[in-house]
Subunit: 142 residues, 2 copies
């Protein structure tokens, strides 16, 4: 039987995070000692490891919830699992593309600035005037 602290250490999770996962129903309510402390077994350890590894790969908690549900029906087609992973891949690719655009724009902005004084700074100029931007379709949130 593992205490919450041991479980945390084994999975590289913070104790509060585990309690948070329990709160939102991602981890089950574990057994308790007579004094009220949580005690976990290997099932919970594996589940938490799955959650953490999926998080490391960028899956949202909602997507992880779905994957956990799917993995509970081993006889079903894994097409749905594939779809969740594909969606995550597309999201990652989209974010990369967007950041690539930002990178180019930032680099250009920085390269162009050879000024000494703030008054002549190309960086501030570009930030002030959207029209000087090469890429028109930049949107926040990358």
């Amino acid at each position: 039987m593992l205490s919450i602290g041991t479980l945390a250490k084994r999975t590289g999770t913070k104790v509060q995070t585990i309690r948070y996962y329990e709160q939102i129903g991602l981890m089950p309510e574990p057994g308790r000692t007579t004094g009220g402390q949580r005690r976990y077994g290997t099932v919970e350890l594996d589940r938490l490891a799955f959650i953490r590894h999926s998080r490391e790969l960028g899956f949202s908690l909602e997507a992880i919830r779905e994957l956990l549900d799917l993995s509970d029906s081993p006889e079903r087609s894994c097409a749905q699992v594939d779809a969740v992973a594909q969606k995550q891949l597309h999201e990652v690719e989209a974010r990369i593309a967007r950041l690539e655009t930002l990178r180019v724009e930032l680099q250009r902005m920085i390269n162009e600035c050879n000024a000494d004084r703030v008054a002549d700074c190309r960086i501030l100029e570009v930030l002030r005037d959207h029209e000087e931007c090469l890429s028109d379709h930049i949107r926040p949130g990358g």
Copy 2:
């Protein structure tokens, strides 16, 4: 004199966001009509446009605050402006690198799965077992 709604439309910002910027001191408290509605001039329009464009380039509100402060001293060296932009560039590059790692891992995971049933799904297998991961140093937050 512009109403908050007009200002919002001109800059592609939501009305609530403008009020939020005012609340956190990024936008100044504007003049008001006798009825208490906000009215803006071109100074505020320019400032908001600067903020939005900087946001589009991924700058944090804190970084934008700094850039706005710097742009108020036109005679100063623009080295600090450069530093803020450089830092942002590095952050963007770091995020791209991390997402690239994720992309490769996701792609590999998906490619390896030729199973029909969830029970044999490589995707779930990889998610369950960190050891199957190529890249050891993946950390959340990308």
